[in-house]
């Protein structure tokens, strides 16, 4: 890596020299200027290092802050997994609950046939006279009608 820096330094010197190309008439002035620039950049580097220096407590505090932020990251990911599992379980349960009503139409028709039978029985029960006795009931209705008619005639005669 150090070799790279040296190689870079030569390259940088070349780059700085090339910035003088446009001022060929004042090349020596330009050379002096770029020497000053190199010195200035070197001093600026030292000043930057000094400016970014911090006391040991700063670095310890920063380490602690990073540790606690990583711990928070870890714990905040756990509920995410929990909620994912809970959601999948809920979806599975919903699918299982919905499945019988859609998948088993035979059972539904059986229920309908049972309903029809029940309704027929109910109707039959509600009917006052069974089918087998229908002629007898008609006869009794006629007899009743005749007797009512004769009683009215008697009343009219009186």
């Amino acid at each position: 890596m150090e070799m790279n820096h040296n190689w870079d330094d030569a390259e940088i010197a070349e780059l700085l020299a090339r910035t003088c190309d446009g001022e060929a008439g004042q090349r020596s002035d330009c050379q002096q200027e770029h020497d000053r620039l190199r010195q200035l950049l070197s001093r600026a580097h030292d000043a930057l290092l000094a400016a970014s220096e911090r006391p040991a407590t700063f670095w310890y505090r920063q380490q602690a802050a990073i540790r606690s932020r990583i711990a928070i990251e870890k714990t905040s990911k756990q509920p995410l997994w929990g909620s994912l599992i809970a959601t999948s379980a809920l979806i599975l349960l919903t699918v299982l609950l919905l499945r019988p009503s859609t998948v088993n139409p035979v059972a539904a028709t059986q229920v309908d046939a049972d309903d029809e039978l029940l309704m027929a029985v109910e109707q039959a029960v509600q009917t006052q006279v069974p089918d087998a006795l229908a002629p007898a009931s008609l006869l009794s209705e006629d007899t009743n009608a005749l007797s009512q008619k004769s009683s009215k005639e008697n009343r009219n005669a009186n």
């Binding site: 790279n4 910035t19 200035l40 950049l41 600026a44 930057l48 970014s52 990251e73």
Partner: protein
């Protein structure tokens, strides 16, 4: 130093970055990450916050570290991307402040020079020189500024800069050439004032 770093990287490549190794990584690299962020952002508090963020992100992405780059280069890649995102957000924040959406407080803090050992005159001179270079660098495009500051502030090699910024070495050289030209011109202008 370089050998130790190479061995360290090789270990992480073959074994992966274990959770217990992470404290050591933080201790070993936090100063450099902070320095680069401070260099790019010129704000001590933001550099501190983003240094923390850089290591949290590195921890999250530790399984993706494959050793194509050294571990410090990998960390600096994350740091530079964070600095870029922050600058973009700050530019957006400027317009928000202009239309009154965001409080102006908390903008750029002044740069501190905590160098108690230096004499007052020397400190003043160093401060002026640094401010002059920084002011000149502020005129550069973000790409050129990053390259210029990484080279002269952090003394990264051209190859390291190309790895950190994801550029070709030739492209880094071209940007650096233009940056040096601009800084030289700006410093000359400042001297005339």
């Amino acid at each position: 130093m370089a050998t130790a770093l190479t061995i360290e990287t090789a270990r992480y490549v073959t074994q992966g970055i274990a959770v217990e190794d992470f404290d050591e990584i933080v201790r070993h690299h936090q100063r450099r990450v902070y320095r680069v962020l401070f260099l790019l952002l010129r704000n001590a508090d933001t550099a501190d916050t983003l240094t923390q963020e850089c290591f949290v992100r590195a921890y999250e992405k530790r399984s993706s570290f494959r050793g194509e780059a050294r571990i410090d280069t990998w960390l600096l890649q994350i740091a530079v991307n964070l600095a870029r995102d922050h600058s973009r957000n700050r530019r957006a924040g400027f317009w928000k402040r202009m239309i009154g959406f965001e409080d102006a407080a908390g903008a750029d803090a002044t740069i501190q020079f905590p160098d108690p050992q230096a004499s007052p005159e020397r400190s003043l001179l160093a401060r002026r020189e640094l401010e002059a270079v920084w002011a000149a660098a502020a005129e550069l495009s973000s790409q050129q500024r990053a390259i210029f500051l990484l080279r002269f502030g952090e003394e990264l090699s051209l190859r390291e800069i190309s790895e950190v910024l994801g550029l070709k070495v030739g492209s880094v050289k071209a940007h650096l050439f233009r940056a040096i030209g601009t800084v030289r011109r700006k410093l000359k202008e400042q001297q005339w004032r």
